[in-house]
Amino acid sequence: MNQSVWGPAQREMTDLLRDHPDDVPAVVDQLKALQQILGQVPPLLGENPLCDFNKLYLTITEGVLERLYAGRFKDPAFLSRLDVEFAGRYFDALRAWAGAGASPRCPEVWAALFQRIPGPDCRPLPSACAGVNAHINYDLPFALVTTFDHLGTDPIDDSDQHHDYLEINEIFAEAIPGLRRGYLEKWQLLIDTMNGRLDDWWQGEAVEYTRNVAWRNAQKLWGVRHDMRATDQERAGLDRTAAGLNKLLLSPLGAFLQ
């Protein structure tokens, strides 16, 4: 098992992933370090699709941390645990990645993004979206279940936890348009000024929509969490659906998004 999928960054990557951050500040640190390392992965270096996602995720997690410190959440203990659990799954996927067809434990949905790291080049926005899709549609329901299980509470609509969970929608909404403008090149800027509002709206909706789906899926998983077989079936199902969406996002069709 000597594949070096991360090229010259292999060693740094292995060392970094040896850590398992257990609080939100440590997650932010880990994502920052990751951003540095991912920028060294050839041939696309800082232009690779995972870099695009990681950058977005870092921004979002920094937003979460700021709000935690500012006391903006109703149940910070819940949100902190959730954030750590959530990020842990992304790091797990990275740990499991050993190249296409050689990573039985890497979820398909992540593999779909990871295998595009060496190219062919795809647009930053669909790349970041593919990561968001993997993370939210696949990782988030499980992170929610684990967090609720740990805290000994149920996922109930309109609870403090649900409120906090929805608060993150705003962070996404804030992060995505800003990042987006950062990516745009001249001709796209033109399209964006024409459709900008529409696109922002669409994207905001997408995030909110998928995140509610994640909450619903978490509630579904919650009911069967003691049944390993059922959980596993659900997991495989979620992976398939989300992976399908990712393949679409990363196809030439996905470029239309940008």
């Binding site: 098992m1 000597n2 398992h20 257990d22 609080d23 939100v24 500040p25 440590a26 941390l65 935690l68 410190y69 500012a70 006391g71 109703k74 149940d75 910070p76 203990a77 902190s80 645990r81 659990e85 842990g88 797990d92 050689a102 039985p104 434990r105 979820p107 329901p141 499980f142 992170a143 279940v145 684990t146 299980d149 740990h150 805290l151 000994g152 509470t153 149920d154 109930i156 609870s159 998983l221 969490r225 003691h226 049944d227 390993m228 077989r229 959980t231 596993d232 659900e234 997991r235």
Partner: protein, 941 residues
């Protein structure tokens, strides 16, 4: 041939262990190296077939040779095994059957006792395979043992399927928390690389292999040794086309089996392993000689392994493949035969196992009694999660028209409530309320309210209690009970006026119609709400009365609650700590004399210890904690005590013991328990500060800040102070202050200051003290060298009668004044006072810090105490005058050459307390060794 067929060629037939030599050595050394708590653990994760079980076997055998007592158990994938299954199974192999116990904690204690007996004077290795199927009770037991609470010198070696950890498996979280501990390793068993695969293949084929074949095996097996081994056998045996999947490999093998052997394999695959010979003989109806021949064939074809306790498939993967090949009708018939065989076997039936087979036999009517029996058994072992699953299964087996369903629903709801499945508990209760023979309206509302309150849905719970009170069928007794519960709920919500009014009503009703429990509950709510509304005396009188009533009833639970409330009220809002401690200790003694109420005893002693800590009587606090730990607490009670004890170690400066207890807390919290995370982080920060690890202290506090609710003023207060102090100490040590951390700490302080106005008076007083400390630390960070804020803090904490923070403030006050060269006389006095307090408490790191400041500014700490470093050991005879009576007794015994333990036995105090006294004696006499201390004593005497 007796009861089983032995498998002669076991070892030779197993392929060689390739590529695991380093791991094997590492695992053994990790297991040998016990952490500070005397325990160690290695969790091996990896995909199915990667060789986890093999690693477990090899390690177990090596450890046995190295003198460990070894116990092995396997978790079952039947989804609803009985509680503690793998451990009890392992114990049964050595003829230890664990008896039921009085409560969940007592059960853990009893299992530990059995494990200690099995181990004798050896260390114990507990090997658990397929831990991903472990029930909740087993996980809790594991954490209990690893935290050192069972007092078993245990090493745990467990295997976990990596596939299971991908989803939301509870073990995922447990392992994530545990892997931070020094005594726990999580080893990920990777597939073999190409060279290792070739080595394995070559060993099996005896060297006849073409390079391209080796490549194919590696590619197809993905380095999975189990698959590679089977493919290599195909090569060796000349099968031309290599199969692509494990499924194909095994299906081809199955086809080669003789028909009877095929039946044996299918039967074992359907059974719960290990399958005993007698049971198998009933399930596979063959004459004995033919059966044995069939088993031999199955063993020879490498499907089945045989051990003392019965037969198993060589790998569970095979069972999973075969399960897909058996027709549903065949499977049902097999399960029916298993059910019949187990029922006719005699002896104590394994209800969980029977239930499993009858369900899969498609015989709900026969399954139901077993399921219900399994649920009751689980409840006897406090496995509420398992019980809940059985009750739920029982519901699935019955339809609406079955009369028993009402009772099943009631059980299902209650067990869901007990294991924290709040939502499900409510759903079951809803269904129960729709039954024709449902309990009365009031009863249903009461139960719903209880479930809602447990789920933290307080507003809805309040409404339900109101409904219960208004229900037409509400008896006077129920009304008293509902009112008392409601008052308690309002108290938790901080609505003291409402709580007070409701408690008044409840008390009136309870006095006429209520049970003692209701009376005690109502009195407590009244007492606390009165105290919070600044009418403490009225509240106190009521709770004292409740204690009297409980005394008269003599029932342990009521006594426990009453004493607990009184002690909490006194040590909490009333800040009458001395009396609170007295009450707590008296309550604990009272319960001990009744031989009951173990949980209450533990909690009362925890209150006493915390109170003693606050008033600075640390040696006494230590003795109380030692007593409490002897009751062998578990769960949240254990966490409370460990945190209290750890706080003491941090104060005494016993860093190893502090680390040990913090590790134990972290171990227990890996199984859940969010509310204790913040105290743990605060202690971690305090410990790191004494060790000069500012970054570590900072990280602990910052994590705490992200997890505090804004209404937890008390917790924010302690945390913010620790954080600011860490920044100030870093600054003083010439290290940079983290501006971001500082900014956030200031925000937290502002939040606290803003929130304090709405808090109850007793809370306000404590928060005031922390606000003072925070303001003073900020002045230190800003280099203001201002004694004034510190003097203010000292006064506040004096008023709270808490000597430790007061003395700490005095030290800083003196330090600032001495730096500025102002009011030197006041500074010296403050420093001396702080020193006297520190030495009296045995706060060694703190005293050392005071001495360091005194030396820096050349201030004599006491007229007769030398502050020059390396004080001369020849103290004057009158120095014994500094010692307390107790200390003189200890010194006298010490001078006779007795050890701490012997002194403890002589004076009826704990060894640890003797150590504390000795520390005081050394400090006061300015000596460093027992010999020097003896000399001082003998010269003076």
């Amino acid at each position: 041939m007796g009861t089983r067929v032995t498998f002669m060629a076991s070892d030779e037939d197993e392929g060689p262990l390739v590529g695991r030599a380093d791991t094997l050595t590492q695992v053994q050394s990790d297991l040998h190296n016990a952490g500070p708590g005397g325990t160690s653990a290695v969790f091996v994760t990896g995909e199915s077939g990667v060789g986890k079980s093999r690693l477990l076997r090899e390690t177990a055998s090596a450890m046995r040779d190295a003198g460990f007592a070894v116990l092995s158990g396997t978790c079952l994938d039947i989804g609803d095994a009985s509680p503690l299954h793998p451990v009890l199974q392992a114990l049964r192999q050595l003829d230890h059957s664990v008896q039921p116990a009085g409560d969940a904690g007592a059960l853990l204690d009893r299992v530990s006792q059995d494990l200690r007996e099995v181990a004798g004077d050896r260390r114990l290795l507990l090997v658990l395979d397929d831990l991903q199927w472990a029930d909740r009770s087993t996980r809790q037991l594991l954490l209990y043992l690893l935290a050192g609470l069972g007092d078993v010198r245990i090493a745990v070696l467990a295997a976990v399927r990596a596939e299971a950890l991908q989803g939301a498996h509870p073990l995922r979280k447990v392992l994530a928390e545990l892997r931070r501990l020094r005594s726990v390793r999580v080893v990920d068993l990777a597939p073999l690389d190409r060279d290792q695969t070739v080595e394995l293949v070559t060993a099996i084929t005896g060297g006849r292999i073409e390079p391209e074949d080796a490549d194919r095996v590696h590619k197809r097996s993905g380095g999975n040794p189990f698959v590679a081994e089977e493919l290599a056998r195909d090569l060796r045996d000349g099968r031309v086309e290599l199969s692509d999947t494990l499924r194909e490999i095994f299906l081809a093998r199955v086809d080669e089996l003789p028909a009877n052997a095929h039946s044996v394999v299918n039967a074992i695959a359907a059974g719960v392993e290990p399958v005993g010979h007698a049971v198998l003989a009933k399930v596979v109806p063959l004459p004995e000689p033919e059966l044995i021949e069939a088993i031999r064939a199955a063993v020879a074809h490498r499907f089945v392994a045989s051990a003392d306790d019965g037969y198993r498939l060589r790998h569970r993967l095979v069972a999973e493949i075969l399960a897909g090949e058996v027709l549903p009708a065949e499977a049902a018939a097999l399960h029916r035969r298993f059910g019949e065989a187990l029922e006719s076997a005699g002896g104590a039936p394994d209800h969980a196992r029977l239930a499993h087979h009858w369900q899969r036999a498609g015989e709900p009517v026969r399954a139901l009694p077993s399921v219900v029996a399994a649920a009751r058994c689980a409840e006897e072992l406090y496995g509420f999660t398992e019980a809940h699953r059985h009750w739920s299964t029982a519901l699935e087996l019955t339809t609406d028209d079955v009369p028993e369903r009402t009772e099943l629903l009631a059980h299902a709801a209650e067990s869901a409530h007990h294991c924290g499945e709040h939502q499900l508990a409510l759903t079951r209760l809803d269904e129960l309320s729709r039954r024709a023979d449902a309990p009365g309206q009031c009863e249903l509302h009461l139960r719903r309210a209880r479930y809602l309150a447990a789920a933290g849905r307080t507003a809805t719970a309040e409404a339900e209690y109101e409904r219960a009170l208004e229900a037409a069928d509400c008896t006077p007794r129920q009304r008293a009970s509902a009112a008392a519960f409601l008052a308690e709920l309002l108290l938790h919500l901080g609505r003291y006026a409402d709580a007070n009014a409701r408690a008044h009503d409840a008390l009136e009703m309870a006095e006429v119609n209520g049970s003692t429990a209701d009376l005690v509950r109502a009195s407590a709510a009244l007492g606390f709400s009165a105290a919070f509304r600044e009418d403490p005396d009225a509240g106190l009188a009521v709770i004292r009365h409740a204690v009297e009533i409980a005394e008269r009833s003599g029932r342990p639970d009521e006594l426990g609650v009453a004493y607990l409330h009184l002690a909490e009220l006194l040590t909490g809002p009333l800040n009458n700590i001395e009396e609170g401690v007295l009450v707590a200790r008296r309550g604990a003694e009272r319960l001990a004399s009744l031989g009951a109420g173990r949980t209450y005893r533990t909690r009362l002693l925890a209150i006493a210890a915390n109170g003693l800590f606050r008033v600075g009587q640390w040696a006494e606090a230590d003795a109380v904690l030692a007593d409490a730990m002897r009751h062998r607490p578990s769960g949240a009670d254990a966490v409370e005590l460990l945190l209290a004890r750890c706080r003491l170690w941090v104060g005494f400066g016993d860093l190893d013991a502090a680390h040990r207890d913090l590790d134990a807390v972290a171990t227990l919290l890996a199984g859940g328990g969010a509310k204790h995370v913040l105290p743990m982080l605060t202690l971690r920060a305090g410990l790191a500060m004494w060790q000069g690890r500012h970054a570590e202290a900072r990280a602990a506090v910052q994590r705490g800040l992200t997890e505090t609710r804004s209404d937890d003023l008390m917790l924010i207060g302690i945390l913010a102070w620790h954080g600011l102090r860490a920044e100030a100490e870093a600054h003083a040590a010439g290290q940079p202050v983290d501006p971001g951390a500082l900014r956030r700490l200031k925000v937290a302080v502002e939040r606290m200051a803003a929130g304090v106005g709405n808090a109850a008076a007793p809370v306000r007083a404590v928060i005031g003290g922390y606000l003072d400390l925070c303001a003073a630390e900020i002045s230190r960070i800003e280099d203001r060298q201002d004694p004034a804020p510190w003097a203010k803090a000292a006064t506040t904490w004096d008023k709270r009668r808490q000597p430790y923070p007061a003395a700490y403030s005095r030290l800083r006050q003196a330090e600032a004044a001495l730096q500025r060269r102002v009011r030197k006389a006041v500074a010296i006095e403050a420093l001396r006072e702080a020193y006297a307090t520190a030495t009296a408490m045995g706060a060694r790191p703190f005293a050392a810090e005071i001495v360091a400041v005194a030396q820096r500014y050349k201030v004599p700490l006491a007229d007769d105490v030398d502050t020059v470093p390396m004080a001369s050991p020849s103290a004057r005879p009158d120095e014994l005058g500094l010692l307390t009576t107790r200390e003189r007794e200890v010194l006298a015994a010490l001078a006779e050459g007795l050890t701490n333990r012997e002194i403890g036995e002589l004076l009826f105090i704990s060894e640890r307390t003797v150590g504390v006294h000795v520390g005081h004696i050394f400090d006061k006499l300015q000596v460093r060794t027992r010999v020097q201390a003896s000399r001082v004593y003998l010269t003076a005497a």
